[in-house]
Symmetry: D2
Subunit: 338 residues, 4 copies
């Protein structure tokens, strides 16, 4: 941490700041520059709140040098984290885990049909929304607990572990019982209360990046879960909010190598919610694989009238199979095994 | 709602789409354009999910014409909403309500001292953080329940109603008992579970705009609360996330006239968290008042060593008084009574 | 400037970096931290390119401490710059200069009519587009040189100095002859070639902030003009590009106090192009005045059928007069004289 | 184009608007909705300025249905455009063109050395900055005309065609003589004056996407060039400006499939300027290739002390060769031939 004092601060006031810092158990190196004096803080600065230092009228700026995340940081945990979900090892080098399923769980027939289909195409986990985060209170909120039951039926039938989004801390216990991977949606990435509760479990958590979350904030949200003792965090890049309106969000694929460098946690990509257009799902999925992601979470729907439902952001079962075949073929050459 | 069909869609397929829409209880007007056919939907389109229409392979785009919010909309509720908090009427024409207090509740002496000071300067409500939303799990999380007790002590002493942030739906009952205005932080603006719970109470809710929430999303979050039956929502603009790094956030003052036009709910401004610099608080507060806001929520701290704590985003007690005096003087000329 | 070395860099490599920096004529203070070594550079670092230092494999990050702008900086030029345009002194303390006129110059009758009207309402300068920056090559590009002639006719008639946008460096000489203030549009804020040419003149330049320009980049563009020897730069905040779509741009009023703190240059606000809605112009203009701006540039049109043309972003002549009356009344109380 | 009238507009006023539109040579279909009346305009709406319609007080909103670009649109030009540069055919199906070279041209030895090296690794064109767009007027602005001469010497030696950025319309003639592909930088994407001049030539133009340009604006800038008669436009995605600060820009790879769908123009990717970190260049380049781009433009530098210059955003010659080998190997499996 570096504290930049305002120009023309008196020696006396600089001295007071140095004493204040030393009283906090840190050491200080003083750079008397041309314009201003810069204090380098030495020691464990992780608990220091820059805002507290900023209260002093002689302080111009405070800059952090060290990263604020510890448990999530590769510096402290050089080995990659592998999250086990049934037989699948998410984050294992050489593996590429595909999670697939419908946007919402609708009926038993639908969810089982899609589950069987995506499984045969190579998906390792089943996704499906039971509790839907809707911008409007008037939109379909999901089948909720009934939806969980249907997901379990699909798991019973196919053996696919289930991934589904939680909206309320009150349901943590229920999800721990019923679900294999608990998803935290983008809009809840900084629902710290929810993160702490999930951190108290040992359940794998799929943590989606917030709509405008910086990579640092995303890793600090992971830190909330890890700090409570739950090491099983899978990160998910799903597009960020920008000025561009052609795509629903802007998929930030550079976040994948960034996270791989900063953290040891596995990171997957959601090519469906990011661009919001089914015809973009395949190219973005291929790009996600070669950029180094550990997997994907893809929307696949089952539509009785295939001639009707060929649009939006979901793939149909045939498109998904075709994409998986292509990914397996290319995956061989980039050391990604589906 | 307008459905734009792809170019060269056959008459038969357009016919199928028209039937599908009519089956949903709507009527359709068909525009056969040069390039493509555009269907205008007539009737109550609020429950229709554009994504469902987008599933059809012949649909190019769907555009909403009507606003998605109803209860929050001035069209449905032409009279301005006035939220009563004790003697104060937030949103009453001609009134300008200032809420002030420290960032965090620290000690009984501190909170009472600041409460007395801001009250004498003209603040009508006291703010103070008991449960702090911190990006880092290692940062001070607030005094929590103890903090609520201290806020109550300050209310007891000064008569100022208290405004404080809730982080967990599990605490709704406690907050309803103890607190006068329950604040929903920017990071929880789309915590739909929390919004629904708060909607079931009749407690005034201060709803902060999310870091990257569009005005429409913000009003839809208000809609969640209103839809459950709680009419007492006060909106709060606190800056949005942009590329600019000089200020912590970019205060979007145009959101105030925008909200005043679209909705009947009162809207106040947070000049402290937006720019993040104390010397900007006064100009931004004056600007908020003349742009038409119904009030402010300002950070004011009490620092024993006045010579020390003159920075960051908080004002000290003297700066706050000075600002309030200026605002009262100017307020007279813009029909804003503090 | 601070150079942060990567953890575990050998003493030998740190030594080589220190020598490299000293060879550039600077001095170095070395902070050996817990995690890494931080080098504080002392001396004139303005010409050092951080990218050059970043080429070294042992360098993790380089942070600038000092501001990169010099001539535009208040540190180097404590006195406010006043730009004289005819009788008007833009930036003079206590003055608030309003520039008004139509979006485009259309006919002699139109431009003279609007000029006379805005002058009687208190505008000090006339704006009007002769060369229009259009996103589409098929849109009306302006009357161009003919438009300049019409502006001159209006100046002849009313005495109002003219402000108009230049699109090409080839026209600098012509503009210097004909125009009183040369406007650089938002899309040309980093047209460095154009800025250098304008810097070689002594003509007042109105420099609009780029759609996504940081305050620092904006001041560096001013620096380009100042560095060539032209001190007469007026900055103009016109809204920045964000995710919000309700308004055309997001007016960043905090940029005004920011620029007032960092620079000595006058800064005005464009309330017309920012939000893009005429009914927002008055509240945003009042807010701009009380937040500390030195003036405004407002679109006012002349519409023969008043019943017809009451929308978009332009004010009509009556609305402008009404707004000016209100601003004069309030201006008295905030020491702004129109 | 769709014109949405305000609620409660009288039949008489709607009639006036319909007449106004018909007078412009268009036909109108009228939708009388529950809330408001919507007019569908039929005919060639490309020249209509929505702002003109918005002037009418009864108009609430105007929405474009058709795309504003024509010559750039795949609808009007279904065949992919192939831009010939020497022997290379940029945009040819199955080809992947790599352009490589240093950030700036520094010395004859440097540029020739890098040219020979990148050529042997498989690059087809040489890039090098002679005129540099620098945010600061004090930074190295490039060797300028001398730099052009050095690039020509490198072309003489290696046969590699040269790509370099133009900053001024005054130099168009010189560039047409000396250079093979003229680059328009991100900051000049809406320098309409420059685009028109380049449109009058037949020289291949590399058009970089602006820092905050929407895909539509980018294609409209291409439209400026095409409209003047020059069909040889190559688009280049180089990252957009967002709130994320870890990367210099956010590379928007979804822009590639988007542009491929909307337009017939070839599109390449700049993995160097986007993220701004050399270690990200390889994964982003692979991702660009599999997402469907027609090529890359990569920064490669020549550093005498290889142990020194291994950072920043440039690759060194060895890293470039290694990346090219990997790309050739994977390219075979995605039908991309380097």
């Amino acid at each position: 941490m570096v504290v930049i004092m305002k120009p023309k601060t008196s020696e006396e006031d600089i001295g007071k700041m140095i004493s204040y810092i030393k009283d906090m158990g840190l050491d200080v190196m003083t750079n008397r520059g041309v314009d201003c004096t810069v204090l380098g803080l030495l020691g464990d600065t992780s608990k220091i709140d820059p805002d507290t230092l900023m209260l002093n009228k002689h302080v111009d700026r405070v800059m952090r040098i060290a990263e604020p995340f510890k448990k999530a940081s590769r510096k402290f945990h050089p080995e990659p984290t592998i999250v086990k979900v049934g037989e699948t090892e998410v984050g294992k080098e050489g593996d590429f885990t595909v999670i697939a399923g419908p946007c919402s769980v609708e009926t038993e027939e639908q969810i089982i049909d899609v589950a069987e289909s995506v499984k045969s195409s190579g998906a390792k986990l089943l996704r499906g929304g039971a509790f839907k985060p809707r911008t409007s209170p008037y939109s379909f909120q999901g089948l909720e607990l009934k939806g969980l039951e249907l997901l379990k039926a699909a798991r019973e039938k196919t053996g696919l572990p289930i991934v589904t989004e939680i909206m309320s801390p009150a349901l943590v216990e229920r999800f721990v019982e019923d679900v294999d991977v608990i998803q935290v949606g983008a809009r809840n990435m900084q629902n710290f209360d929810l993160l702490k509760e999930l951190g108290k479990t040992r359940k794998p958590i799929l943590l989606k990046r917030g709509l405008s979350a910086t990579i640092e904030e995303w890793l600090m949200s992971a830190e909330y879960i890890l700090a409570e003792g739950n090491p099983n965090v899978i990160l998910c890049e799903r597009g960020i909010r920008t000025f561009e309106t052609y795509t629903r969000n802007t998929l930030d694929l550079s976040a994948v190598p960034a996270v791989k460098r900063l953290s040891h946690l596995p990171v997957i990509v959601d090519p469906s919610h990011s661009a919001g257009m089914s015809w973009m799902v395949e190219p973005l999925s291929l790009a996600a694989m070669v950029v180094g992601a550990d997997g994907l979470i893809v929307e696949v729907h089952n539509c009785p009238e295939k001639a009707w439902c060929d649009g939006a952001q979901s793939l149909n079962e045939e498109q998904f199979k075709s994409m998986m075949d292509k990914m397996k073929a290319i995956g061989k050459h980039v050391e990604k095994n589906l």
